[in-house]
């Protein structure tokens, strides 16, 4: 039995993923939520793998599962952890309920969209993972090479731009200080 169709593989991972996603939002401590987010990302990578996208799974785990939480954790390090959030107000409960209702509406309408009555499924999966890797490389370096280059340029632009903005804002601050 292929892993895609195996409910024993699918249900625990899916339930765990949803559970940890909810926990990540519900936790008040930011580190706990970070940790549960890591679990969510790993489980998402696992699902990628189950679906047959090994390369995507690797990248998902590498970037979201490791790099992003590390960077976020570093960012959290800057902040003052001892301060506690006391801005929980009763007023927001109404809006919470409203938003929950609307999210349910959203879920149901999307369910209608993806339901088999409106969506035409012709499932066939005959390609194995090696073929997938080769196709992947072929596409990436032939058909989508221009987009790939654009993304790499964007990344470098971000790095350079961040540094430049930092410099500018510092200059701006120093100018303000000078005025004072």
């Amino acid at each position: 039995m292929n892993g895609i169709f195996n409910p024993i593989v699918f249900y625990p991972s899916a339930v765990l993923m949803i559970l940890f996603a909810v926990l990540a939002i519900k936790f008040k401590n930011i580190f706990y939520s970070l940790l549960s987010a890591i679990v969510v990302f790993f489980l998402a990578g696992f699902l990628f793998y189950v679906l047959g996208a090994e390369y995507n799974a690797v990248i998902q785990i590498a970037i979201y599962g490791v790099a992003v939480p590390v960077i976020l954790g570093l960012a959290v390090m800057f902040t003052d952890l001892k301060k506690e959030d006391k801005t929980t107000s009763n007023k927001n409960s109404f809006y919470k309920i409203l938003l929950l209702i609307f999210s349910i509406i959203f879920v149901f309408s999307l369910l209608f969209v993806i339901s088999p009555y409106t969506f035409d499924y012709n499932f066939s999966n005959s390609v194995n993972s090696y073929d997938v890797i080769s196709i992947f490389g072929e596409k990436l370096f032939k058909k989508y090479v221009l987009a790939f280059e654009f993304v790499s340029i964007l990344l470098t632009m971000i790095i350079v731009g961040l540094i430049l903005i930092k410099k500018d804002s510092k200059d701006f601050e120093s100018e303000e200080l000078c005025k004072k």
């Binding site: 195996n6 949803i18 996603a21 995507n56 369910l111 990344l155």
Partner: protein, 102 residues
């Protein structure tokens, strides 16, 4: 037990997406918001990959798009973190409500 179909995967990604959106709206902590954004991106990636796996046998263009998506998400995260850093410098708070005069 019933076999798992494409609908299940799509449903999972949708749930994750909604959780991300609710997280963005409800959570006050900037880092939590960023995590929720990553949830949304993950859900979209999952969607892409599900469609590519189940419907696109020959080309798998969803995989490549999800790859680009990860890159775009990283860039967005970097920018957001930098903005957070700047704002925290100014406001000395990680609460999103205090960033009203952005």
């Amino acid at each position: 037990m019933q076999e798992i179909t494409m609908l299940h995967y799509l449903f999972i990604s949708m749930i994750l997406f909604v959780i991300g959106i609710l997280g963005i709206i409800f959570s006050k902590h900037v880092i939590k918001v960023l995590i929720s954004i990553e949830f949304i991106l993950t859900a979209v990636n999952l969607n892409f990959i599900t469609f590519a796996t189940f419907l696109d046998n020959a080309n798998f263009e969803g995989y490549i798009l999800s790859l680009f998506y990860v890159a775009i998400g990283a860039v967005e995260l970097a920018v957001a973190l930098y903005i957070f850093y700047l704002m925290y410098d100014k406001k000395k708070s990680e609460n999103l409500d205090k960033y009203g005069d952005l």
